[in-house]
């Protein structure tokens, strides 16, 4: 982690001065309720604590566990999960919110961990791929991915699993188009696409069979 000595204090004090100046104006402008107003503003002042740029302590709720770490405000949730919480299931592939390999669930909703500041994820339940199986038992989507071979190199797999897990919670029996819409934000380079759709449907209870035909060349006349 980066050394916490930092030169951000000038900015901090400057901004505080501005704020207090504004506070004064507000208080004067509302003389009749001056006391309440000042109290209310002071409460806000407390709530509006400026943090950074040096690392600050934050608490993330990851897979049901509260985890305390220290990160700079500029650290993304993805960076925090991988390099501070040491959960490497979410992958850094584009780091720009374009590929979905870093998808995690925030209160059950899929988001890109690379495009959210870690400190903003505080107070939300975060689910990563490591949190999908329970006591060694794969969840139905994971199970279907294995059975359908909905993976090749596996680098996009965690993101797809989370997108589909969230979809099935929302829509237990989606059709293929809904799977495509839910996974539009996930990319795969190996080309597992058809089997990801199959696996999603399979996890929702639809029976899926391979259409591949095998013909022995020797049997051809």
């Amino acid at each position: 982690m980066m050394d916490s000595k930092s030169s951000g204090n000038d900015l901090l004090s400057l901004t505080r001065r501005n704020f207090l100046k504004t506070l004064g104006t507000t208080a004067v402008g509302t003389a009749a309720t001056q006391v309440e107003s000042v109290a209310a503003e002071l409460q806000k002042l407390n709530a509006e604590t400026i943090v950074g740029p040096a690392p600050i302590p934050i608490v993330l709720q990851v897979n049901g566990q509260a985890i305390s770490i220290e990160v700079e405000p500029r650290v993304t949730l993805l960076d925090a999960l991988r390099n501070h919480v040491h959960l490497t299931g979410a992958k850094e592939v584009c780091d720009r919110g374009t590929c979905g390999a870093c998808t995690v669930l925030l209160d059950g909703q899929p988001i890109y961990a690379c495009m959210m500041l870690a400190l903003e994820a505080q107070g939300h339940a975060i689910t990563t791929v490591e949190g999908l199986a329970h006591e060694g038992q794969l969840n139905p989507v994971q199970q279907a991915f294995v059975e359908c071979d909905a993976m090749m190199c596996g680098y996009c797999t965690p993101g797809f699993l989370l997108s589909i897990t969230a979809l099935l919670k929302r829509r237990p029996h989606p059709d293929a188009d809904e799977v495509k819409h839910a996974c539009a934000g996930n990319l795969c380079r190996c080309g597992t696409h058809p089997r990801i759709i199959q696996a999603a449907l399979k996890a929702s209870g639809v029976s899926v069979t391979s259409q591949t035909e095998v013909i022995r060349y020797a049997d051809l006349a």
Binding site: M1, M2, D3, E72, R74, V75, D79, R82, N83, T88, G89, A90, K91, E92, V93, C94, D95, R96, T98, C99, A101, V129, E130, L132, A133, L138, Q142, V146, D149, M151, M152, C153, G154, Y155, C156, T157, P158, V179, K180, H181, C183, A184, N186, L187, R189, C190, G191, T192, H193, R195, I197, S210, Q211, T212, E213, V214, I215, R216, Y217, A218
Partner: protein
Amino acid sequence: MPTWPKETKYIGRHVQRVDGPAKVTGSARYTSDVQPEGWLYGMILRSRWPAAKISDISLEKARQVPGIKAAILVREGERTIRYYGEELAAVAGTSKQACLDALRLIEVTASPLPFVVKETEALKDSSPPVWEKSPNLSKPKVVEKGDLAKAFGECAAVVEGFFTTPVLIHHPLETHGNTVSWTDEGITAWASTQGIFSVRDGLAGNLNVEQSKVRVISEFMGGGFGAKFGPGIEGALAARLSKAAKAPVKLMLTRFDQSLAVGNRPSSFQKIKLGASADGKLLAYELDAYGTAGIGSGGSTEGGGGGAEFPAPYIYTIPNIRVSHRGVTVNAGSARAFRAPGHPPASFGMESILDELAVKLNLDPVEIRLKNDPSPVRQREYQLGAERFGWKQKYHRPGSSPGPVKTGVGCAGASWGGGGGGTQAEAQINPDGSLEIRCGTQDLGTGTKTLIAVIAADLLQLKPDQIQVRIGDTRFPPSGGSGGSTTAASVSPAVFDACTQALEALQNQTGVADARGDNWKAACKKLGINPLIVGGKWQPGLSSSGTGGVQFAEVEVDADTGFVRVKKITCVQDCGMVVSRLTCESQVNGGIIMGLGYALYEQRVMDSTTGVVLNPNFETYKLPGLADVPQIDIILLDMPERGVIGIGEPVTIPTAAAIANAVANALGVRIGSLPITPDKVLAALGKTQAAHA
């Protein structure tokens, strides 16, 4: 000669990927996930000039950033930069943020030089030379056969066309990178690679360390597609940073980096003339082609073509030909092998012009292929595929589809060599009956671990999950790089040999006549306290090279908006003896989808004025998504008598050509330029309004 068993329980059947559970739980550790004690981040500073003389690089301010433990130059002294993104320096630090801050404080003194980034500009005499001593445009490499002029004169039909294919970026989802620890004992490198031994040898040679002191590990890797064979400059930099910082350094490229400096598929510009007799027999072929492989092509490569060459007239045998290839150097990153190097552009040009000829001769495209394709296997594949696809019902005269949304069909064929060799494996049978198979190969996502488990399970009558497959470590018996669709054909016979020899040794040592299956545990127990380790090596007779495949595409083209939707691809592929059917089918899907990207979406875009890659991201370098993928219908043509053949490459070759032919069939006009984007469709239909002067 050894032979594969006729009756199998696992070989050729659907067996789940043995590392599937690891991949779906996030427990699979890729190079990017490895976090050895005390590790540091590494990052590279790249040139922001497409061409420049670098006179000085100062790392002093970067070294002052809190958390930075090392900062190094790629090369000491003055140097010339020849493309945007070339590596200049590298830093290692305790956080990503420290490294980012440090990179911005590195001071580079540079004098910009003239540059050229587009092929069409680089081939002009007036273009600035990328290399001082050699021209951008190479001398043509020419192959001639027969009497071309005479043959064209005798043809009943002659067609001409111009076809272009773009530079593609491999974009494996795991970027290139390594986590390297260099101590007095030697180097340990976790590498995202297609060749652990080539990385070992590359690092050893580059850093002047004995090969025995370099260990390369790649247990899981996130895709390569031909671009990940050596350690690369980034691998050597990670090692040097580790030595300087006295700590392990993880240096994974960013997606931006990935777009600039670690390989690409060369472009092609193909002027083709093709002639045939009235009954469609090909008689004459002429190709005048050029393309770029970046700074590593053109006059800079002595032999001519320079990296952008491709086989022509591809799979066809034509009595009279003239083929000319030239390479054009541009100020852009070098090409590297890209899934079936040379073949997809070759297939696109040849299969496109062949369809034009079929139209002119009023022949069905399947018919003209049956007349000319020399491969009896592909002949059968065309027949099988046409029937399954419904070709006769779906094919119509080009452009005759009514309404604004037009349908069309097309087909194309491909061949690939592959083959195996040069691999060893060892089996370790433990007294408790557990079995380990070790092989210094690597799994790119193709299912190599599964393949090994399936073979061992079948030969020893065990279950695949009873077998510990260990690969991706240079301490294991050697295997080659995973390229050219050779891994399955190299590894399978070695595992076969190790297993059969180990079984024989087990039986000899324990006196159990048949130690397989139900007798296994009892036999192993008789080993006493020492495990039995038996090596095996690749044997002839268990694998083959040479495979053929054909594909059919059905598309819908919206003639008002230019939007192309591929509805269906039917693929018929010769695959020898299939070892692992589930992962084999996944490979076919994968090849087709990569071909779909080539056909419709992908291209590196360079800017002439600034010299940069304009789309170093997934926002504007477009990969196919779930919504873009058609129904994929696969017929595997089994030839168990031929043994194991790799199919990773052949299945990606004909897809783009088949799609392009289907689009031409739908519209009645041909778009000879990949990718076939809506703007090109509307332009081909004459709807696009020209630019104001």
